[in-house]
Every structure is written in C-alpha cells, then in structure tokens.
Amino acid sequence: MTSYKADRSIKWRFSILGVLAGLALLAMAPAKAEYADVIINNYADAAGMRPVVFPHWFHRIRFRCKVCHADLGFQFKAGGNKITMAKIIDGKFCGACHNGEVAWSVENCNMCHSGIPGTPTHIHGSTVQRLVSPPYKALNAPQQPAQQ
C-alpha cells in the first residue's frame, strides 16, 4: 500500500517535471517576430536604452545583401559587429545610411531602440537552428571563471 503510494507520487513528480520541461520549451519558443529580425543588445540595456531591432525584411526590399555585408563591412554575426553610437555618428554601420541623406538620421532614437528591454542579442531565424546551436552570449556577458 505505502509502496504503491510512493510509486504514484514518483510518477506524478515526473509527470510534473515533464509538464515543466514542456513549459520551459514554450517559454523558449521564439517570439512571433518577422523572420530574420536581429535584436542587438551588447550595450543598450546596460546603458538604459531599449535593445535595437534591425528588420532584415525591411532593408532587403531596398538593398541587396552585398551593400551591407560587403561594401559597409557588416559581418554575418548577430551582435558581432560591436556597433556603438560613436561609430554610427562617425558614419559607420547604420550611420552610413541613417545620416539624414540615404535615410533618416540618428536623432530618431526610438525608431532603432524599439525592443523589449532585457531581450538578449539574437537573430530571429527558424526553430531548427535554435534547437541545435547554443544560445548566443552577449559580448559583455560575465566571463566564465577560467577552469583550472
């Protein structure tokens, strides 16, 4: 009798674990952002600004990939270009266009800084790679203590 009870409670405990794991996956499930949106948040959160949302769909309607990824030197890596406002104002990265000539200028902070605070740097791609590749680590994430 008691052993049966204990067994049931174990079964329950594991079922609850199962549901929790499912819920964790649900929480991990991607937001419904448009495919290829990039959230850039190496420094913004820490500086009290919203993270930046870069919409690929909007820009690829207007420019071939090569304009940004060959001519302007954006590397194929979300968060990998270490973009800062100083560089943008200096005409690099987003600043090559968001300068009041090719596109509206940097004064429009909230047009770029439009993400939900706390959203980590990532590209909103398909689920396949999300399940396979390790989560992205922000540049300013605390370093793992070195293994002895």
Binding site: D7, A29, C65, I123, S126
Partner: protein, 188 residues
C-alpha cells in the same frame, strides 16, 4: 523487485510525456505566423512612442510571392520585379564591390536518399558579391567543401545564411531539387 520495475515504468512514461510535450511545443512555432503586427510580435516594446511610425510587415509584404510554407519567396520577388533593391548605397551604380551575375549551377550529390542539391550561382549573385562566399565560406572548387546537413544545421556553409535570413531548412525541396533514381517520392 516489482517496486523498482514499476518505478522504471513510471520514469519511462514520464520521459515520454516530456519528449512529446517538448516536441509539441517546439514544433508549433516552426513557422513564425507571418506578418504579425509589430505591437504583438513579442520583440517590439508596445510602450515605445515611436512604434506607430514603424512599418508593419503586412503593409509591404502581403502581396509578395510566397513559398509552400508561406514564407516570402525572395528569388521570385526579385525576378518578377516586385522589389528593386539597390545594388549600391545610393543606386544601381557607385562605389563598392561589383555585383556580377554568374549563371553556374553546382550539383552536389552527397545527399544519401534525398534528391541531389542544385546550388544556383545566379539566384545568389543577384543578392551577394563573390566575396561574401569566396573563400571565407566556400573554396571556389566543385566538391572541395565537406558540406553536410549536420554542419548546415550548426550554422556552417549554407547554414550561415539559410535558416536565418535566407529561406529556412524546412523547405528541403528548394535545395534538394534534383531527383535521381535512388530518391524516394517527397516525404518531408
């Protein structure tokens, strides 16, 4: 004895539940509901006063050609002239890397039972410069790159762009487009 047997069964059932629940939840959002309004996409801050000034995907892309999964078919959009993205910063000429179209298909046959892969240079060189791929991602020599599905899933080779910005891996047939005698009818 019997007790431990029962326990094992309990654990197995629970594990199965976990896997099924996990799969059900993980599979569902496989296709991001396309053209979600920015206020509800879970990425844009609804409190942002500038949000109404941003364009909703629906406004521009509702009528673009789509693939089997309802994703925008960017190759067709460009070929049909639905979009005319600039080749240079300020227009179709200017300073920068030349965008020269190359009509060269590479057939990749190391695909086990799947149809062979046709890699079309043309579709790529309408968007990308040679320099974007050669030679950092691919050595420009047929058969010289040890591409495999596993590496693509890990984000290497084709997976540098596909599944992130270019069309997702779920659409097997867009790459595996050359059937051969050993390939079964479409099952995916």
């Amino acid at each position: 004895m019997k007790n431990s047997h029962k326990r094992t069964r309990g654990i197995l059932i629970a594990l199965l539940c976990t896997v099924i629940a996990g799969l059900a939840f993980a599979q569902k959002p496989e296709v991001a509901p396309p053209l979600t309004p920015l206020t509800a996409d879970g990425v844009h801050d609804p409190e942002n006063p500038a949000l109404p000034s941003l364009q909703n995907p629906e406004e521009s892309m509702a009528t673009f050609p789509k693939d089997r999964r309802g994703e925008v078919q960017w190759v067709e959009s460009l070929n049909q002239g639905v979009i005319t993205p600039r080749k240079f910063l300020t227009g179709d000429s200017g300073e920068g890397e030349e965008l020269k179209e190359l009509d060269l298909d590479i057939i990749m046959k190391n695909t086990a039972q799947m149809p062979h892969v046709r890699f079309p240079h043309l579709a790529h060189t309408r968007w990308l410069a040679c320099k974007n791929c050669h030679s950092e991602i691919f050595i420009p020599k047929a058969g010289a790159n040890p591409v495999s599905m596993e590496k693509i899933l890990k984000g290497e080779y084709c997976g540098r762009c596909h599944d992130k910005v270019s069309f997702a891996l779920w659409a097997c047939e867009r790459c595996h487009s050359v059937p051969h005698p050993g390939s079964p009818p479409k099952w995916w």
